[in-house]
Amino acid sequence: MIKTKIWVIVISLILTVSAALSVIIFTLPKKNVVAIYSDGELLREIDLSEVAEPYTFKVEHGDGFNEILVERGRIRVSFADCPDRCCVNYGWYYGGASPVVCIPHKLVIKAVNSQKDDFDVVTG
């Protein structure tokens, strides 16, 4: 027969610990991984939540190229020599359901674990 008082102490301890852990967990930044494909081939994956300093890199395709700018939490095509430049006009990509695409250069930037939006698909 275990006294009620003991149970109360045990439960209070568990309560405090789990409450503390919960708070810590909810203030942590979540992973946000995007993948960059050129011509169907995976070039690289980047975890946007772990980007320290902004940086750029080039993706070449045939005679053309796209310049990609990566910052913490977001990524975009900063420059491209394709005729329409839709990829540049897209603006910043945060990892949502609507991927960044450069059609002439067959470039795709999309989310790997797409939990950033609540959406299944985005029109536009």
């Binding site: 009620t4 309560l15 789990s18």
Partner: protein, 178 residues
């Protein structure tokens, strides 16, 4: 005696099922998957402490099986089973150490176990270990909801044993009240 017991179990099962289904319509403001009030645990606890562990298991199994068929989802069944059964086992073990006035404690640990079971099921089904990160939150919610449902069960057990002595309640050896 047997007929009365079957009838009692049937009523409790129906109750557990209704509560289970209605509870799914209640939205909770917590953005973590698997957080629920666990009201059907009240019935499980009641059956455990007032009738018998075997009857409780029976009612629980029926609630999990039929309830999820009505809800129409297989993944729901897996989660429900994982959470519900771990909850039952935990409550069964504690049953040996608790008096009727400590049923709320049983509720707390049962609810914690339910959450833990569901997380393990979720990790197993989706093969992503990241889901474990929700464990502290589920434990926290489990303590709160478990205390609530456990208290409800406790009140029911104590009162009903007094009011309906002719019903086939099993009696534990009466312990000195704490």
């Amino acid at each position: 005696m047997k007929t009365k017991r079957i009838a009692l179990d049937a009523v409790l099962t129906a109750l557990a099922l209704s509560v289970f289904i209605i509870e799914q319509q209640i939205p909770l403001p917590i953005p973590v998957p698997g957080v629920k009030l666990g009201l059907s645990n009240v019935v499980t606890l009641f059956a455990l402490f007032a009738v018998s562990p075997l009857d409780a298991l029976l009612i629980l199994s029926l609630r999990i099986g039929i309830g999820n068929v009505f809800a129409g989802s297989v993944t729901g069944l897996i989660f429900s089973a994982a959470g519900g059964l771990l909850c039952y086992v935990t409550e069964l073990i504690l049953y040996k150490f608790l008096t009727d006035r400590q049923i709320w404690v049983c509720g707390v640990f049962g609810a914690i176990a339910h959450g833990v079971g569901q997380i393990f099921a979720a990790v197993g089904v989706s093969a992503t270990a990241e889901i474990f990160i929700y464990l502290p939150v589920l434990i926290l919610c489990g303590i709160v909801t478990g205390a609530l449902t456990g208290s409800l069960a406790q009140v029911s057990v104590i009162k009903l044993k007094k009011v309906f002595p002719f019903l086939p309640f099993r009696r534990k050896k009466e312990e000195k009240q704490n």
